[in-house]
């Protein structure tokens, strides 16, 4: 386990798929923070959500926070937190970016089946309103990005990276 990447935060999505860009927007915000707020053990990356690629990227990482748009029945803009470390991801939480046959949820379950799941895997999601081709987030999702960023920061802090939210700077 590399000391340089104790917590890997993966923003999943496509900037040309409307609300699917939510996870990438969060990564943009985290990158804009003072580096000390994230701490040296946190690594940020973007991914379009193809499952085998995710397995390759999080290999030998102890803790992963996935940030993604969720296609769901609840109100667009609602935040969702799923701890996938020990329990299967509920089928109801299908990721909006999984226009791929092996998407984020499948990657998690595939890794679990192979014994390749990082010790901690937390999915921070926001329920999207639309996923068609387009460059803009819906108002619901845009309004939820600050809270989603705070949620990710809290998760990172709890996993041993960064400092608790509110202890310095703002998301």
């Amino acid at each position: 386990m590399s000391r340089a990447a104790q917590v890997l935060v993966i923003g999943v999505g496509n900037r040309m798929r409307s609300d699917d860009a939510a996870g990438l927007e969060v990564i943009d915000r985290l990158r804009a923070l003072p580096r000390e707020q994230l701490g040296p053990a946190v690594r940020l990356c973007e991914h379009e959500g193809e499952g085998l690629g995710l397995l390759a990227i999080w290999e030998s990482t102890a803790a992963v926070v996935l940030v993604d748009a969720i296609e769901g029945a609840s109100q667009p803009g609602s935040l969702v937190r799923i701890d996938a470390s020990t329990e299967p991801v509920p089928a109801s939480a299908r990721s909006g970016s999984s226009t791929h046959a092996v998407g984020v949820v499948e990657a998690i379950e595939l890794a679990r089946a192979l014994g390749r799941l990082p010790a901690r895997v937390v999915l921070c999601g926001v329920v999207g309103a639309r996923f068609e081709a387009g460059e803009r987030l819906s108002a619901h999702v845009r309004g939820a990005i600050p809270a989603l960023t705070e949620m990710v920061l809290a998760e990172v802090s709890g996993l041993g990276g960064g400092v608790p939210p509110g202890a310095g700077g703002q998301a």
């Binding site: 690629g53 226009t99 791929h100 046959a101 595939l110 089946a113 081709a133």
Partner: protein
């Protein structure tokens, strides 16, 4: 999935099979089959087409922006979109990068994308069809080694993409005229070890795939692919067909017509004589199998593939052979690589129209741009492989249904899904939701 209506005693009775989500194809879409008695009355594969959005988005943008914008169309094959776009822009500006280290680097990163995309399809999407699993997760529990092989291949492809493309996802190092930064020889050498490992895995994969149980199906499609003398064409060449057509990318619009179909936002491509055609691994293999690198050619022979393969179910073997070829090709490029004097050649815009065609993992990908003297894009046209294959896939579906009328609905629906997956449709390039419906009447 739902089913309605058993077979009838008198007169045609309708059977309906409906699947709301077609698994294990990239993206989502819809399929509909209607049977009248024992005859197939209608087959429709319905897809929607985001490239129209990107074509509109490109208008008014600088010609230098096309590779980065079009790379966003598909997360699986961004290099293909970048390569067809830079080829088209260079064509418009009368610049040719057809040999030397810049060309080699382009082909190298393209090999990386073939390795990544084919690995995903062979091990994760197609293998479960032959081993009898609903998907990769279920398969992984019993056949861990297959998924591990896929992961190893994927990582080898990733390493090429990360080094040459600047990062693993949505590469940022490709530009009109070449690259922003070219790797040193020593940097490229670091790819040798993972690619040697991938080559051995790919060879084993051909042997494994060749022994899978295949239905005895022969489909005679007109086949269209790039062709380059002395090379299994990837990033450059003329377009040829098995039936004797031969034309440059600049004449694509004369030979291929796109038509709107009521059921779909997509444009369906046909040859100008009205015929349907197939692009992708089976087409490439039929037109260029004699130009495979030595280990790939030997693996193909041992696998029992002749000079062409007309059984779409065996496309998994052809993809595995292309995996071998891509690894060999990448290793050969790394071996002979000399660092270029400059990472890119200068490209000065001029008012013109440019065409670019390259071989995406799923087949021929055509771009055409009209730009003005400042390099502003006035018009853009993108024809992805899945749009071109749509009608040929419908023909395969019709044949599969006719051959499998006596199967119960659920198994028939699965057979239809398999017939679609044979062609690895990248529906994320060309659609949003795939639903499967079979009606029997």
């Amino acid at each position: 999935m739902s089913a309605a209506g058993p077979g009838g005693r008198e007169g045609p009775i309708t059977r309906v099979i409906r699947t709301d989500y077609l698994a294990r194809v990239e993206g989502e879409g819809a399929m509909y089959v209607r049977l009248e008695g024992r005859s197939v009355a209608e087959v429709k594969l319905r897809i929607y087409e985001p490239p129209r959005f990107f074509e509109a988005l490109l208008r008014g943008r600088a010609f230098t922006e096309a590779p980065d914008i079009t790379a966003r169309i598909c997360g699986i094959c961004p290099i293909a979109y970048q390569m067809s776009s830079v080829r088209a822009m260079e064509d418009a500006c009368e610049v040719a990068i057809d040999h030397g280290p810049l060309r080699d680097l382009r082909r190298l990163i393209y090999c990386g994308e073939w390795i990544e995309s084919h690995s995903l399809h062979v091990y994760m999407l197609h293998a479960p069809d032959f081993l009898g699993y609903a998907g990769a997760i279920e398969m992984a529990r019993d056949h861990r080694e297959i998924v591990e092989q896929g992961l190893q291949m994927k990582k080898a492809g990733n390493s090429v993409m990360a080094l040459v493309g600047g990062r693993e996802v949505h590469p940022i190092n490709i530009r009109v005229g070449g690259f922003y930064r070219t790797p040193t020889r020593a940097e490229l050498q670091t790819l040798s070890e993972p690619l040697q490992g991938a080559l051995q895995t790919a060879l084993a994969t051909v042997r494994w795939a060749a022994a899978l149980p295949f239905p005895d199906v022969q489909r005679e499609h007109e086949l269209l692919a790039l062709s380059e003398p002395g090379s299994y064409a990837v990033d450059l060449g003329e377009i040829r067909s098995a039936g004797g057509l031969e034309f440059g990318p600049g004449a694509f619009d004369e030979h291929v017509v796109e038509e709107h179909v009521e059921r779909s936002n997509a444009l369906h491509a046909r040859l100008s004589d009205g015929g349907t055609y197939l692009v992708g691994p089976l087409a490439r293999y039929a037109l260029s199998s004699q130009l495979l690198r030595p280990l790939a050619a030997e693996a193909a022979r041992e696998a029992g593939l002749g000079p062409s393969c007309a059984n779409p179910f065996r496309s998994i073997v052809v993809r595995a052979v292309e995996l071998v070829h891509a690894c060999e090709e990448a290793l050969a490029i790394i071996e002979r690589y000399e660092e270029p004097d400059a990472p890119a050649v200068e490209v000065t815009p001029r008012a013109s129209v440019g065409h670019g065609a390259t071989e995406a993992p799923r087949g021929l990908l055509y771009h055409r741009y009209e730009i003005d003297e400042q390099g502003t894009i006035l018009d853009a046209k993108i024809v992805p492989p899945t749009s071109q294959n749509q009608l040929a896939i419908e023909e395969d579906l019709r044949a599969v249904v006719e051959d499998s009328l006596d199967l119960p609905d659920e198994r028939l629906a699965l057979r239809c899904e398999q017939a679609i997956r044979n062609h690895d449709p990248c529906i994320s390039c060309a659609t949003h939701f795939l639903k499967l419906t079979v009606e029997r009447g």
